[in-house]
Symmetry: C2
């Protein structure tokens, strides 16, 4: 089954938002083994939308639309498709009731426009929307599947996962399975990684192996096709072992793992508590850790010491040390780590200081960053980064490096990774 995703909305063509729905749907279809050959974006214009539909019908069996199901005059996806296929729109009573109840609950008056959202293509299976008004539609017509989904990400994502995906999975189960598995690396560049696994990349058939770099990380996606899921995983595991034999030491995780999630897991698993003193990152390290649910089992807290005075007054950093070495220094990062650890009575203390940019800071060029690690009562260890990115890229990179280094340091001390 080959798919095309048509996103409808002038805001996409004006560059106000990126087409993240196509990314989401594509990754979901890839899990099902459905090939996506094209994405199209078209504005809120009936005749151009109809042209796009005609083109998609020439090259896809499954056409997924996102957007244009709202109550306003701009929203004309279902009207255009109904017109194109010669099908009437009929009221879906369940959707209508849902909309009426919504308005009743909030004491607002329902207009004719809102009622229009309960109109669906005759003969379609209605996909319930638990996060908005507009129901989705799944229509089989002339050997093709037309799927209409709402535009807002918080509506389309659950609707696809819980309503649409099971219907598609049933359709494709006879074609065999495609399974994908992502290996995540840190501390090695994309080019370097590609060179090291060149033979594997050159001789790939099934599974295929595709590298991708983003935000300082590199991933290898292994994709296998087989009759059953079990067979596909067997192929993936063999290839994974081959890859790990070469670049395994740079791998930190798989699939949806992140450096922060792996760090939190490792800390929780080993029963270690952590605190941080942050200057250039200004809370970003702690905030990134706190994205992981359950972090309260390891993160006690920390301080943001953005000014030199705060470093002295709040963290007790020696003014003499700062005068001698500056705030962007190994000595400052080490002292921040050690002092925050003591102050918050944690097993580990992290110190982050540097010149985020665009300007130099304390005579150090933009991108110079020092990270300190105080683990138990050992002398703090420090690491230097020299980054070349923009201000906020540098701040985020510093956080990722801190996680990556911390996991390695803990491993060297005998703590287990998860």
């Amino acid at each position: 089954m080959n798919a095309e995703i048509i996103a409808v909305g002038s805001e996409l063509l004006l560059g106000q938002i990126a087409n993240t729905n196509a990314k989401f749907i594509s990754s979901q279809l890839s899990e099902l083994g459905i090939n996506v050959y094209f994405h199209t974006v078209v504005g809120d214009n009936g005749s151009r939308l109809q042209d796009a539909i005609k083109i998609a019908e020439e090259r896809a069996d499954l056409i997924i639309f996102s957007g244009g199901l709202g109550p306003t005059k701009d929203d004309l996806t279902k009207e255009t498709i109904a017109n194109h296929l010669g099908l009437p729109l009929v009221f879906d009573h369940e959707a209508l009731t849902y909309i009426e109840e919504f308005f009743a609950k909030y004491g607002r008056t329902m207009t004719e426009n809102n009622k229009k959202q309960a109109l669906v293509l005759e003969g379609c299976k209605v996909l319930a929307n638990h996060n908005g008004m507009a129901p989705g539609m799944f229509l089989e017509h002339n050997d093709r599947i037309y799927m209409l989904l709402p535009g807002p990400p918080k509506e389309i994502e659950p609707m696809f996962q819980f309503e649409a995906k099971p219907l598609l999975a049933k359709k494709v189960s006879d074609d065999g399975m495609i399974v994908s598995h992502v290996l995540r690396f840190y501390g090695i560049g994309e080019a370097e990684l590609e060179v090291q696994v060149q033979d594997i990349l050159d001789n790939q058939t099934n599974p295929t192996v595709a590298p991708l770099a983003s935000d300082g990380e590199v991933t290898l996606r292994i994709t296998a096709k087989a009759q059953t899921e079990e067979e596909a995983w067997k192929l993936i595991h063999a290839k994974k072992t081959e890859i790990q034999a070469i670049v395994g030491k740079y791998q930190y995780g798989v699939d949806d793992d992140s450096l922060t999630s792996k760090t939190v897991e490792m800390l929780l698993h080993n029963g270690l508590t952590i605190s941080a003193a942050e200057s250039l990152t200004a809370g970003l390290f702690q905030s990134e850790l706190a994205e992981i649910s359950g972090v309260s089992g390891t993160l006690v807290g920390g301080v943001v010491t953005y000014t030199e005075e705060a470093k002295v007054n709040q963290l007790g950093i020696d003014q003499v040390l700062l005068d001698q070495f500056g705030v962007v220094s190994s000595e400052c990062a080490g002292a921040m780590a050690a002092n925050v650890r003591k102050k918050f009575c944690t097993d580990i203390g992290i110190g982050l200081t540097g010149a985020a940019g665009p300007d130099p800071h304390d005579e150090q060029p933009a991108g110079t960053i020092w990270i300190g690690f105080a683990i138990g009562d050992d002398e703090p260890v420090t690491r230097k980064l020299e980054l070349s990115g923009m201000r906020n890229t540098n701040r985020l990179r510093a956080v990722k490096y801190a996680c990556s280094y911390l996991m390695r340091l803990l491993e060297e001390k005998g703590y287990k990774r998860v």
Copy 2:
């Protein structure tokens, strides 16, 4: 002039990345008054790419390609276009020298593959790439413009802005100017805003007015077309005044402003210093402020008190208060704000506490958030939020609300907005 953007890359169709290049290019073209009617995404496949080119030629005068200019076998954008148009590829000596120098500088061996990146379409204008190997191309052929740009955002964005955009601007200068201006609102929903400016939305011609909601904010984009930029701005200002008369009190900024940037500007302008005590946001408030260059003039620092112990030990919150009201309470948020202000000797202290989710925290349902504001020696003021989003959406919303409330509170006290 009508444009189509064709992004080439299987990673887009696999859903590994979103097509942010199309968003960027579209917003740039919109500034020039060039209409974008379609985006297409196609994989690393010569015949499907050629099909996409043929379709684009039927509906666009300007076809912009992103991606597929790299050194590997997957990269076949220029080869496919050369083949389609019957044009040879020739070496560009400047690009070749640049690539050779790069490899010499890093002491690496240049392969034939790398050399291939210096091949360009005969007759094109070469667009220099200062952030990578692959040069871009600007080709006028059969009354159409073909523009080939590299895929990585850090390469395509400067190349478009500094190399390609001036060439396009020259082409369109006779057609008149399109100017866009975005008004940014907070504290009002999209539906509510639309209702209030319904008459303006219904009767728009030139300028047009388009609403868009994202991340808890709503924007109105005013777009005017005129012979000169000055005339276009005159139209925009008239419409802006009309809109502000109705919903001006919710407007916090324009264009690239953000709630954090406006907050930092207001604090700097009024010579106010700030500190924060963060629980559920765990440093996100301070980190978001620190994204703004120059923030060190107002942000002194703060504490992250993720655990109850940290609130007591580091911030001196009264254990009796916590026992009586809980950590997710007006009392706790107010005390956090007041205490961090005193501790860091700042004009303003902010306290953020709550249940980010997914689970309830301290008997309060997920999404319950209290924000405290201590301004000077006045009694702290607190605000409650009841959010329904996911964990990290709630944390970010809390930061945005904190900025929005803070600006209003300061304004009430007579401080000027910027």
